[in-house]
Structures are given as structure tokens and as C-alpha cells.
Symmetry: D3
Subunit: 162 residues, 6 copies
């Protein structure tokens, strides 16, 4: 069975992420969307919330599983019997960083392969942090994130600034 | 009337910024140089000071106006009846970030266009932060910023370190 | 009056070109779409045909004019009293070449400014040569070029290979 | 069954290509290495010879098949029931071109996905054309191409120059 | 006498750094490896420790000297009678930043030249910060840093997290 | 003695090339400017003429020698007892190609090092081919090439087109 891990912060998941998840689902027997628990960053949504959003929006995909991890991606992938890491590529700056990580991960575990999928052109400018920047000032994020979390994103920033 | 907004931190304005302002002035009926009030950053110069520097150095240009803004650039531009955003491009890394922002801004308001002007080759290596890095250690910044603020930049760093 | 020149080979014009033309029309009093007559290249469509396609597809835009030129762009722009060159930017590789040209053109005539507009994300992968590559083998080019020339493009390649 | 196509000119196959083929073999049920028959290029090795080299060097891999194609890659992939295209990525310049092709191919057939695998760092500078450039002047190509074709590559250039 | 300065944070020195040092030693009469004392950053190793690691691992190279500096690199280089700065280049993102710094340094002192050496392809993905990221979670860093400091790096992170 | 080779087509030498030559002269005991004799290209100036231009414009530099070569650069450098290759870097696209060549050359002869010098910012947009493109249509090339060859460049194109 071909198992792939799609790691990320997903804080929150954007429509660009969902597009990659759907397309990955067609390539592998199982895709594990793995939310990174990074203690050095202050996320807008908790790990639990981020997993909840992914479950609500990808829950209908049969071979997609939502999970979280901390520590080294390679250790996590091995524990899940995954032999592939999936990454989305948007721009040249993504590419260089991802290439560096892929080489390092290959060094850490040569049995696990990193593959890259290009982000759909209509989402090429999209990132979780840009969505948050826009939402913070009340800009329209319709079409950028799953509709069910739109309201919630705006609400977070009101709390923060109050 | 064609109104353009040239947004930035301008902390402080460099000769590269002034070059873009002058050249933009020749392209549009009015250019509004808009200093971004970003509460998340600790600037060397206050908004008032940054606007003051720009006024002193571009005040002689008839169709150039100095202003400040906070929040979304697209909201500000609309409130000023501007239909164009002007950005300077130096390097590939600029380009990718600016392309991403331009796409997002197009999504937020399709009626406002972002245009890019290349930085003059003699200023291609110049940025406000690099100027501050050099000045902090007493390096020569002659020719990089308007002469009238040279002394002031050095003085700030002496205050900070005392 | 602000006059801009949008130069290119337009062999043939794609929907990406038309998008740039429309948006440029909103920025300037007059936009001259200038088809380059390059004797070193063997085009699929003649200068006359390329201008014809542009006229049919942009003819309804009031302030857009279709023309052709040979020789130096700066000489042509000056002869038309244009003070701006418009270029579309898609990718980093575009950017570097265009930056080089813009610097050279600035040297040739400092009074004429080059401005860059980003290509719409949905056309980011589009170029005349890629359209021809696809059409040559009968691939679907619907949505990539103006519908009125679709048939004609396929026909050209049949002639060539017969 | 997950079938992938790895297309290329392979004129001749380098050790970088063989590395991608082996790694792809671990990701898919079947990998079809598809030699492009491009009538516009003058190859050093004929299609038959290029396929022969690949067969000799990858013949021991159970799920790898060697084939050739002409025309549109998407048409070929569909005819083989492949749902994935594999591409190797070395550098930024590769990346931009491949991204453009991947977007166009997605447009031509949304059911077929392009995935990218990074070239091993030790082959990051390797390309068929660079190997030929070196061999042409008698430079050492040991370790860059399969040993069984080393001699043959040198011999070709002697023929050409005689 | 041709004296070169190779500046950096070296927190800690990686095998990629050592490779550049050895190769620089063959190009110049003397190479001064200069550890930057940056008060704005919290290093894993102190200046003294970083210099100690470099001395242990490059001490056998006759014309290599280990030193530290703070303030402007150009001031330091001049005080050492160096006429060259050596920098390693790995990726495009390195390149742009380094080009900017080289231009600025040329402006500060036109008599001192910056030269770039490409990082060996096997170390192209290596950086001090990536090594620390891996070590922090117990990943294997064998072959990435000098063996004598491997243990020490792991130990630091245990202290930090306890 | 430290001997460096600065290879290129120099068809013709530009002021950017001369800048690199002068600066290289300060770094090495001897710099050999080596004009590549590439039988696959049709140059504007013959090898003899290109060497003549370089001699006239760099002849006053004591430690600079003008020569020509064909075949592999590494073979030529070795025959001249050079241990360094000098290359000028302008843009990212230069960088990637040069990095690839440097890695290959390292493979061919690990004893010869390639170093890169950044092109002066005022020549960052300059190349021999762009100069020819401009001159071909009578554009002003003053300041881009040595004055003594300006007239000659224009004359060549008149011959060609007559």
C-alpha cells in the first residue's frame, strides 16, 4: 500500500491546501494530512481546531486521514509506514527551501521520497499567512478558505485586538 | 485624473525611493506616497518623522502628495480614488513577493492595478534596512539617503546604544 | 496625454496578451499595441495577419491602437510621443530578461519609462510559443487564444506538415 | 494500478536520469520511460539507440517499461492509462519551465497529475547536453553516464568531426 | 601578500564551511576565518566555543587563521590588511542577498573585492540552522558537521529543553 | 604564483568585461583573458580582432595577458598552470548556469577552483549580445563598450545588411 504524508501548519487550511489534498488522494492509496505541532510558533488556531477544520472539509475523501505530529517529519512518516512526502510548490522561493528540505530528509531516511505538486494557478498567490493578514483588516477572504471557517477567522482577530 | 499610490515603510526614505517617486510623478497626474503605519514593527523613525523627511525631499514635486495609512492598502487606495499602485522592483526575491501581493490585491479590488517600476541600477542593492545596518556601525551612507537626514540616522543609533 | 506602447511578437496574440491590453487601456490615455517586425524570426502569422487578429479582438477598445514597428523600440516609442512602455510579467525568467531590457532602454532614452504589469494568474503558464506547440499536435487551445483564430492556428500547422 | 510516465529526450540517458527512474519505480506500480521523438531536433543517438541504452541499464527493474512517443505527452499518457507524469527538478530554471508545462498539461487533461522529484544533489549539475559538450572535447565523463555507453559517446563525436 | 577574510556566524561550523575554508586556503596566501559577534542573535555556541571548534577542525591548515569581529565587515577586513572577502554560494536566494551585500561593501570600500565560491554539491542543502533543527529532535547529523562536535550539539538541546 | 583564467567570447569586450579584468588583476599574480574559439557560433569579430580589442584596452595592465583557446576550459587552464577560473555574475540566470558549469569543471579537475565576481551595478544589464542588438539598429552604445571600437561595431552591421 502506497501511503503519503502531506505535512504543514494549516493555520488555517486554505483552498490551495484542499486542492493539493484532493489531488494527492488520487495518487496514493492513503494520504495522511499531518498538522505540525510547532511549539516555537503562536498559531491562530490550536492543533485541535486545525485538525477539526481539515476533518470538516476533507472528511468526505475516503482515503484521506487527518493527524498531527511533532518532532522530525521523517520519524513521523516512518512510524506511519509512509514512503512518500507530498509538498505543494507555488513559487521559486518555495522551491529552493523545499529542495533543501527534501535533500536533508533524503539524508535522514533514503527510503522515503519527497514529491512536489504544483499549486493550481488560481491559488498561486495564496498562503495561510496572507489570508490572515487580509482578514486582520477586514478584507474579503471569500474563495480563499473553506466557507465554514470564514467567520471564525474574522472573529479571532477581533478577540486579539479587543 | 490618474492617481497612483506608492506605499512603503520609508523608515527612512532612501535615494532609491526618491528616484521611484520622481519617475512615478512623470507617469501619473498625482502620486500619493503613503507611509505604512504598521503597529507590529518598531521603526527607527515615527510616522510623523518619516512623512517629514519625504515632504522635505519631495516637497518640490508638484503632483506628489505625502500621506500615511494603516489597514489594507486596497481600502486606502479606494478612499483616495487611486486606480494604480506603484511598486519598485530590485531583485528576484522582491519580484516573487510583490507578484503574490499584486495577485491578492487584484482579488480584493479588480479595479485597482499594480504596476512595477525597476529600481535604477545604481540603487539596486539599496534598502532602508541595509542603510540602517551600515549606519549602526558608523559606515558611510553618503549617496544612499537624502543628505539632510544623514546626521539624524547616525544620532538615532547612538541614542539606542547609550 | 499619456501614451503607452505595448510591444511584442503577438504570433499570435493570446488571451494573456488581450488581458494586458485591456488593463493597460485603463491606465493610459492611449495604448499602442506594437507588433515587432523581426526579420530574424520565421513567424506563423505575417505582420499583417497579426495586426488583423489584434484589430478584430481589441478593436472595440476606444483608446487602443494597433501598429507595427521594426528597429529599436525606443526610437519607435519616441516617434509616437509615448512616454511609457508596458510589459507583462509572468515568471522569474521573464523578470530578469525584462529588467535587463528596461535598464538598457532607460540608458537609450531616460525620458521613457518601462512599467510592468503582472499577468493574470489564470494565464501565468501561457505563451504564444506554447500555444503553437500544443496546436501543432492537435491539442485543445480553447480558452488560451481568441476563439476567432483557433481554427486558423490549426490550419497553419496542417499546411506546414503537408 | 498506478501508472506513471517519465518523459524525456534521453540523448543519452545520464546517471541522473537512471536515479530518477529507480526512485520512481518505488513510488508507482508501473513506470513507463517514454523517449520523445522530436523531429525538430538532431539527436546524437536515434530513438532506437536511446531506447536500447535505457533497456540495458534499467532492464533489471521489474516495473519499468521503455517506450517512445511523439506528439502531445497528454495524449500518449492517456493511451497508456497513466494518471501521473514524473519530472526531475534540478534548478530554478528547470522549475519555472516545468511549472509552465505542468499547468498547460493540467489544462489539456485535468485527470493526469504532474509530480516532481528532486534530482540527487550529486547529479544536480548534470544534463545530457553538458555531457555531450564535455565528451566532444575528450573530457572525462566517467560517473556521469552508464559505463556501457561511455565509449560509444566519444566515438560519435569522432565520426561527426571526421 | 594576498589576505582573504571568510566571515560568518559558524554556529556551529558545518562540513560545508570547512570545505570552503580548505579551498580558500589554496587560493590565498592567508585566509582569516572571522566569526561574527552579532549581539542581536542568541547563538547556540558562544564566540569562544565557535572559534574553538574552528581551531580544532582547521588548525592543521598552515595559512588559515581563526578570529572574531563585530561591527562592519569592511572595517574589520581593512584592519587586517585583507583585500578579499570570500563567500560561499549555495542557492539563488543566497545569491541575491550576497550580491546586495557585495555591492554595498564595494560602496563602503572599493579596494576590497568580494569573491564567491560555490558550495560543493554534496553540501548544497546544508546550513547551520538546518543542522540545529535536525539535532533538536534527535535526527542524525553524521557527515554534516565535524565529528568532534556532534555530541556537543545534541547535549545543548537537552539542556535547553530540560 | 597564483594564475587565473578569465574565459569568454568577448564578441566584443564590453566595459563590464574590462571592469572584471581590472578587478581580477588586483586579486591574482597573473590573469589570462582567454577568448573562446567556438566553431559553432558565427561571431561579429574574428578571434584575432577580439584579442586585438582586448590588447588595446587592457594592454596597460601589467599582469594581464590576452590569449585564445578552443576545447575544454579545464584542459586549457591546466596547460597554463592556472589554479583559478574567474567568472562575472550579473543575474540569477547567469548564476544557475555558471553554478552548473563550476560543478562540472570541479568534476573534470578538482585542483582548479572557479570564483565568481559580481558585475558592477552600473553594468548589470550589459552583455555583448545586447550591445550588438542595439548597435544593429543604430542605437547609442557610448559608455557600454571601449570607445575605440564603437565605430567599428556600427560598421560591421552596415556591411552585413548591405
Amino acid at each position: 500500500m502506497k501511503i503519503a504524508v502531506y505535512p504543514g501548519s494549516f493555520d488555517p487550511a486554505t483552498n490551495g491546501h484542499l486542492d493539493i489534498i484532493k489531488r494527492s488522494g488520487a495518487l496514493f492509496d492513503k494520504v495522511i494530512v499531518a498538522v505540525l505541532n510547532n511549539p516555537n510558533k503562536k498559531p491562530l488556531f490550536s492543533i485541535k481546531e486545525r485538525m477539526g477544520i481539515l476533518k470538516k472539509t476533507c472528511g468526505n475523501l475516503e482515503n484521506v486521514e487527518i493527524d498531527s505530529f511533532s518532532g522530525l517529519l521523517m520519524d513521523y512518516a516512518k512510524s506511519k509506514n509512509a514512503n512518500t512526502i507530498v509538498k505543494g510548490l507555488r513559487a521559486v522561493s518555495d522551491f529552493e527551501y523545499e529542495l533543501q528540505m527534501a535533500h536533508m530528509n533524503k539524508k535522514l531516511n533514503p527510503d522515503i521520497e519527497t514529491i512536489f505538486i504544483m499549486t493550481s494557478s488560481k491559488y498561486s498567490y495564496l498562503s495561510s499567512s496572507l489570508v490572515k493578514e487580509v482578514a486582520q483588516f477586514g478584507g474579503c477572504i471569500r474563495g480563499l478558505v473553506p466557507e465554514i471557517i470564514e467567520e471564525d477567522i474574522y472573529r479571532r482577530f477581533k478577540k486579539v485586538t479587543v
